[in-house]
């Protein structure tokens, strides 16, 4: 993603992923997807002006390697003119470039596959998770499904940008629950960006969630919900 969209990519990890262990099927190197990288070549015509801020259909810029004849250009923190990459103090250009960069990040969704819901796409409750809580969340949801509850699970592998259709996926459920080993950062993003209300299951004890803990808490949320519904009838 970093080379395809020419953007920094941050990998979020946690102590549980770093210290946990589980059996892995060893991949065959030949089956790994290649990461194609293209560098523009030196221009054949000397008069041809290299445009370091020209963008492809995903709004990604060319990656010209220092040392290539004729492609000298400057990158850096000052705003650049679209296409030419010259330093620009033009207000309209600044607006255009800010919009362009934001759209480029959203274009990640054109490249990565959307997340799939585990379980029915509609129901009473969806558990939304990310990172090292995957195992506990998936197993807890399986247990609840086996106990007859209408519960599904969605695990995010890409947090920013949020998947394009995530809002609709979440709205298929009466209740969204987000277990996180923090004070609710993803919940803030979901409520802020998608305006979908969500309940957090949060702790910061230096220990991961146990399956039983999640099953109990999610079951309690379902029970409270049913009680509310019964009271309102």
């Amino acid at each position: 993603m970093a080379t395809r969209l020419m953007t920094p990519v941050m990998v979020l990890s946690d102590g549980y992923i770093a210290n946990g262990s589980e059996p892995w099927r060893i991949p065959d190197v030949n089956d790994l997807e290649p990461i194609p990288v293209q560098h523009p070549a030196a221009p054949t015509d000397e008069a041809e002006k290299f445009l370091p801020y020209l963008r492809d259909q995903l709004l990604s810029r060319p990656w010209a390697l220092p040392g290539t004849v004729g492609l000298m250009h400057r990158v850096g923190g000052l705003e650049k003119e679209d296409r030419t990459g010259n330093v620009s103090y033009d207000p309209a250009n600044h607006q255009h470039m800010v919009n362009t960069r934001a759209q480029k990040v959203r274009n990640v969704n054109d490249v990565v596959a959307p997340p799939q819901i585990f379980g029915p796409p509609q129901g009473d409750l969806l558990v939304l998770s990310w990172g090292g809580t995957y195992g506990a969340c998936r197993t807890a949801v399986t247990h609840l499904q086996q106990a007859g509850h209408s519960v599904s699970h969605l695990h995010l592998r890409w947090v920013n940008p949020l998947p394009s259709d995530l809002g609709n996926q979440l709205r298929g459920f009466q209740q969204v629950v987000i277990p996180e080993l923090n004070t609710g950062q993803l919940r803030q993003l979901i409520q802020g960006q998608l305006q979908v209300p969500a309940v957090g299951i949060n702790k910061v004890e230096g220990r991961p969630f146990s399956v039983a803990e999640l099953v109990d808490k999610i079951a309690a949320i379902l029970q409270a919900r049913e009680a509310d519904l019964a009271a309102s009838v």
């Binding site: 059996p23 060893i26 991949p27 065959d28 190197v29 390697l65 220092p66 040392g67 290539t68 004849v69 004729g70 492609l71 000298m72 250009h73 400057r74 990158v75 850096g76 923190g77 000052l78 010259n86 330093v87």
Partner: protein, 337 residues
């Protein structure tokens, strides 16, 4: 058939961008000398990269028609190190200032220098934060009144040359923006050094710290305040070349030549001394007791970091074929029936 190489001129290295330094800024002099020196160095623009941090000085890459990276405050050394390792063929310059290099980037600067990556650091020292409009910097003098030190700076200033010598810099020099000839020669010498070269350029910020180096640039007094170092030459200075520096015990001493005081009693500058003691001493010279030295304080040889990195890569490659499948299948593996 021989290919005729184009003869490059100073203008071939300048970009067509508007320069946003204040009129009268010492940075113009450094830019002009850099453009003048590069044709003599004989490297085409596409093989040169200027890497900078943040500050007035760090706008420099935009004004060169080379590759340029205006990076993160204080972090140009890290970017430049990666760049040089990735492609040792490139000629890399780090452009920085007293704030960028010695405040937020102090740590990075030390590690670049101790590794002796083959690149050139030019530190523009104007003893002030210019871009942010006049706050005190790590080289501001005690008592200096600025916007962020309204009753005078309490901070003891850093001496850039002492700092880099402590990190075992292999090339250490100082020059002055006003002395364009000396500046050009010093920049050229820096480009010829293999390893990290460090040049402190005493630079006037005529808006926020005008005259910070006046005692070294005013034509009436500069010669009595400056010591122009020349390798192999006795340390003679003064308007009439009638003063010198000698060692009195372990301390340097300014003396007036004449009578029994002759040149052969003076220190003879040797920039190639393997131990940096004399360079350390020179770096501490300050007016009025001693003249401020300009020129090359130290130039010694030490292996370059990027060369050693590539040697390690070659050695590792000669020992193993680098079979990723074999690595994947090594260690604690088993087959599920």
């Amino acid at each position: 058939m021989n290919t005729v190489l184009p003869v490059l001129k100073a203008n071939d290295f300048g970009s067509d961008q508007d320069i946003r330094w204040c009129p009268g800024c010492g940075d113009y002099s450094i830019l002009a000398q850099m453009k003048k020196v590069l044709p003599d160095v004989g490297i085409p623009p596409h093989q040169i990269v200027f890497v900078s941090g943040i500050g007035c000085s760090s706008r420099f890459p935009y004004y060169m028609n080379t590759y340029g990276m205006h990076t993160i405050h204080g972090r140009a050394p890290a970017v430049a190190t990666g760049l040089k390792i990735a492609n040792p063929e490139l000629n890399v310059f780090v452009i920085t200032g007293d704030g960028d290099a010695l405040s937020i980037g102090g740590n990075h600067l030390l590690h670049l220098i101790r590794r002796n990556v083959d690149l050139n650091i030019i530190l523009f020292n104007n003893r002030i934060y210019g871009l942010t409009k006049g706050q005190y910097s790590p080289t501001s003098q005690p008592g200096h009144i600025t916007k962020s030190t309204p009753t005078g700076s309490l901070d003891h200033p850093l001496n850039p040359l002492s700092v880099v010598l402590a990190a075992d810099a292999t090339f250490v020099a100082r020059s002055i923006d006003f002395n364009t000839k000396h500046l050009g020669e010093t920049l050229y010498q820096a480009t010829q050094h293999r390893g990290t070269s460090f040049v402190e350029v005493l630079q006037n910020c005529n808006v926020f710290n005008d005259g910070a180096w006046e005692h070294l640039t005013d034509k009436d007094v500069k010669d009595d305040n400056l010591l122009v170092l020349r390798h192999g030459q006795p340390m003679v200075y003064g308007k009439n070349q009638d003063k010198g520096v000698r060692l009195s015990g372990l301390s340097p001493q300014s003396v007036v030549l004449g009578g029994e005081m002759t040149e052969d009693q003076l220190l003879v500058h040797d920039q190639s001394l393997p131990e940096p003691h004399i360079a350390h001493m020179l770096a501490r010279f300050s007016n009025p007791e001693l003249p401020v030295p300009i020129g090359v304080l130290r130039q010694v040889s030490r292996p370059c970091y990027e060369e050693q990195v590539w040697q390690q890569v070659q050695q590792a490659k000669s020992k193993s074929k680098g079979d990723l499948n074999a690595i994947f299948n090594s260690g604690d593996t088993w087959t599920v029936a």
